[in-house]
């Protein structure tokens, strides 16, 4: 019993010591960088969307799908060339939150496991990181659709 209390006190003391020597995270700087990088990515996305509206037969509602696909494709190219990693180092969440972060998660997993073969390596690992996002998206869409259907059936 006495041993346990001694351990706890040592742990507490160690935590305090760690907190003293820990380098402070530059939260405000990180936020600003994320805002800048995320904003630039979204501005490019908006330009791509206007491109589809202007030159093709897409309305504001339908132009979102090809825009998403194009942005993911851009992210794939940039990841392949090694540019997106540097952007992510600088921008942090600003590069991970937009849909380009999803593209980056897919292709980086594919590149990492390329040496293990196309089927078991690339095929088996390509959705290792992004798979949970897809499953979460599909499942939450299913739940929301279910709730809406129940409401409509009840006459809401």
């Amino acid at each position: 019993m006495a041993n346990q209390t001694n351990d706890n006190a040592a742990q507490k003391a160690y935590k305090q010591l760690q907190g003293k020597h820990e380098t402070q995270r530059p939260v405000l700087k990180n936020c600003l960088r994320a805002f800048l990088v995320g904003g630039i990515i979204c501005a490019i996305g908006q330009a791509v969307m206007y491109f589809y509206i202007y030159f093709f037969n897409f309305t504001e509602q339908t132009a979102g799908n090809p825009t998403t696909a194009t942005m993911v494709f851009f992210a794939l190219l940039l990841t392949g060339f090694g540019v997106y990693d540097r952007l992510a180092q600088f921008g942090g969440a600003g590069s991970a939150v937009p849909v380009t972060g999803f593209g980056n998660a897919v292709i980086s997993a594919a590149i990492e496991h390329r040496s293990e073969g196309y089927v078991l390596g690339v095929g088996g690992n390509i959705f290792k990181l992004a798979g949970s996002v897809i499953v979460f998206g599909v499942f939450s869409a299913f739940v929301v659709a279910l709730i809406k259907t129940i409401f409509i059936q009840l006459g809401g």
């Binding site: 897409f58 309305t59 509602q61």
Partner: protein, 162 residues
């Protein structure tokens, strides 16, 4: 080696500047349609059948009514018989209330002009196509059938969305 990269970047920059200058020297009529998505265009309200602008015509009256509604800042109107196409842009901060504004425009127009049928939209694509049709009509030498076909195309585009 860095010199080579610098040359390539320099070459790209010059190309970009030439492209910008060429775009700036373009036809002014085209520029209006070209910047319709990002700038206020305020095109004159026209009728597919008459093609000449009438200051006190129905399309112009409709335009004034719609432009007077709170939150709307750029209106394009084209009439084809009883059907009137109304496309507008909503202020950025009011875009969360798009549905409410569309409802307001619809009820307002139906109350004010009982004999007409209105195709109302705040979609950028519909606005852009309406401005394009408007410019087509301003060119005068465009056959009426072509303008009517374009009107129908926009109508079907709007129906696709709903």
């Amino acid at each position: 080696m860095p010199g080579k990269h610098f040359k390539a970047v320099y070459f790209l920059l010059i190309q970009f500047v030439i492209l910008l200058v060429a775009a700036g020297c373009g036809n002014e009529e085209r520029m209006k349609e070209g910047t319709a998505l990002i700038q206020q265009t305020d095109p004159p309200a026209l009728d597919v059948r008459s093609t000449t602008y009438q200051k006190d015509g129905l399309p112009e009256k409709v335009k004034k009514e719609v432009a007077g509604i709170d939150g709307i800042y750029d209106v394009a109107v084209v009439q084809n018989g009883k059907k009137v196409l109304v496309a507008y842009k909503v202020n950025h901060m009011r875009r969360f209330q798009m549905k409410k504004i569309e409802k307001e425009v619809n009820t307002h127009l139906k109350k004010r002009f009982k004999d007409n049928e209105f195709i109302v939209s705040s979609d950028y694509k519909i606005f852009l196509e309406t401005v394009r049709l408007n410019e087509m009509l301003m060119d005068q030498d465009v056959p009426k059938e072509k303008a009517k076909k374009k009107f129908k195309d926009i109508e079907s585009l709007q129906k696709e969305m709903t």
